[in-house]
């Protein structure tokens, strides 16, 4: 089992070498990257916004119900909401959601291209199929996922503010004071760094699973599931490592 795992890791790095080789015609890659911005980035805004809004709302209400003691100032609810969203939700939880949406999309798209011989058709033409198909996806997610993270932060805090004020657990003034109190701008940088790592993990692992599919539609489905599971596990592992490196 260990040998199989190490073989897979080796294949993964050889695959990355193939992906990052010199593009055949950079202008074609530019067009592909623009397409991927839309299919992987813009189409993810909706799901990220909806989930962020409700997560922000729940974090605010949970914090409020668990800090009802009068010795805790009310503005701590806003502060808790802000830090939870910036430090963990906007990067890690959003990455796990994107692993499900974007990861399965990439694995199934590339896997289908493999089993229908479209990748063979690219190879026959002398095109480095790994680079042509995957590099634009990696570039698009590396550039666009930080924007999704910023959206998650803004919408999450907005959701927290609305839930807090509408339910009456905190006043608007207290919440706004809380989200400004003891603000550390580096937390945003930390969140962005994590997002970039997670974007690479999601795209490369999912593409790897799809690229080496062997068989038919059943195997494409399996590859898609593996893409989500492996990406999620590696994201959680790297979350621990990056947190220790960046915040210690």
């Amino acid at each position: 089992m260990m040998r199989k795992f190490l073989t897979q890791v080796g294949h993964y790095f050889l695959f990355l070498k193939k992906v990052f080789s010199k593009p055949e015609k950079p202008v074609i890659y530019y067009k592909q990257t623009m397409k991927e911005f839309v299919s992987l980035g813009l189409t993810s805004i909706g799901i990220i916004a909806i989930i962020s809004f409700f997560m922000g709302a729940v974090i605010t209400l949970q914090t409020a119900y668990n800090t009802e003691n009068p010795i805790y100032p009310k503005y701590l609810i806003g502060l808790g909401c802000r830090d939870s969203i910036i430090l963990e939700f906007s990067s890690t939880v959003a990455a796990l959601i994107l692993a499900g949406k974007v990861g399965s999309n990439i694995a199934s798209e590339i896997g289908t291209m493999r089993v229908t011989e479209q990748i063979d058709a690219l190879e026959i033409m002398g095109i480095n199929s790994a680079s042509y198909l995957i590099l634009p996806k990696i570039i698009a997610t590396l550039l666009f996922n930080p924007i999704l993270t910023l959206i998650a932060i803004i919408v999450g805090i907005l959701g927290g503010w609305m839930a807090g004020t509408l339910s009456g657990v905190i006043t608007s003034a207290n919440f706004i004071y809380g989200i400004q109190y003891a603000f550390i701008p580096y937390y945003i940088v930390y969140s962005m760094i994590k997002t970039v790592f997670f974007a690479f993990i999601i795209t490369s692992i999912s593409a790897f699973q799809g690229y080496y599919v062997n068989g038919g539609s059943l195997e494409v489905g399996r590859a898609s599931t593996k893409a989500v599971v492996y990406s999620s596990v590696v994201i959680l592992l790297f979350n621990v490592i990056l947190t220790q490196l960046l915040l210690s």
Partner: protein
């Protein structure tokens, strides 16, 4: 001309092709025939370099193709066109974009020149008013014809067809065969066609090799195939009851 010398190929220790040697001639439609699972597709994919071979030599004219690295193979590959069994058109591109794709990747032609070439190739395979359709909107025969148009868009020297008639009705199959033969003669290409369709064999088989269990068991042309002594070939050629009766009657 493509020469294959003592080609061996195995997967996970299972031998698929054994000591295959054959010469495919320029300007002719060369057929590889054999039963399903006999190793035809593996042979074709080995010749084009999609499978690394265990041993042997594959020569394109005077270039030893299987020893070239990826960069050098690209030069030969730019002279190849291939029609896959399932057409392998790019799902996300329209008919026009599919045919235009090799031109975008490998030529410095301007947009008008590319449009002209795309329309010429599509007209050549009788695809009219379908430029903006996606592959999912095409019939099986149309997909094959668009795939042929894409394959010839760069004027290839070598054309490879993996079961071009699979899934087609007999009339459409004959049209595709005729098109492949015409294009081969027109552009003086070296064409290799994998097939187990006897109609194709009799229509376009200028040079034929028969593969059985990974071994080349017969080589000849369509005029010789009906009088062969090779039992494996005869089992394949006279597989249906009508053909068997005709053979007995002739004897």
């Amino acid at each position: 001309m493509i020469r294959v010398i003592n080609l061996n190929k195995s997967f996970n220790g299972n031998s698929i092709l054994n000591n295959i040697s054959v010469t495919f001639e320029t300007g002719k439609t060369n057929l590889i025939i054999g039963r399903s699972g006999s190793g035809k597709t593996v042979l074709l994919k080995s010749i084009v370099g999609l499978h690394d071979i265990d041993s042997g030599e594959i020569w394109y004219e005077d270039v030893l193709f299987n020893k070239l690295d990826f960069k050098d193979k690209k030069v030969i590959r730019s002279e190849m066109g291939m029609l896959f069994q399932g057409s392998a058109l790019f799902d996300s591109l329209t008919v026009e974009q599919n045919v235009r794709f090799p031109l975008d990747m490998f030529t410095d032609k301007n947009s008008e020149e590319k449009d002209e070439r795309v329309n010429f190739c599509l007209n050549r395979v009788n695809i009219i008013n379908a430029n903006n359709l996606f592959p999912a909107e095409l019939s099986g025969g149309m997909k094959k014809r668009v795939a042929i148009a894409r394959a010839i868009s760069l004027n290839p020297k070598y054309l490879f067809c993996d079961e071009p008639n699979s899934g087609l009705d007999p009339l459409t199959a004959i049209l595709i065969d005729a098109l492949i033969k015409e294009l081969t003669e027109e552009y003086s290409m070296t064409t290799i066609v994998n097939t187990h369709d006897m109609n194709s064999v009799m229509e376009i088989g200028e040079k034929i090799i028969c593969i059985s269990d990974g071994i080349k068991c017969w080589e000849g042309n369509k005029n010789e195939i009906l009088n062969s002594d090779c039992e494996t070939l005869n089992d394949f050629v006279f597989a249906n009851s009508l053909a068997k009766k005709l053979r007995l009657t002739n004897k």
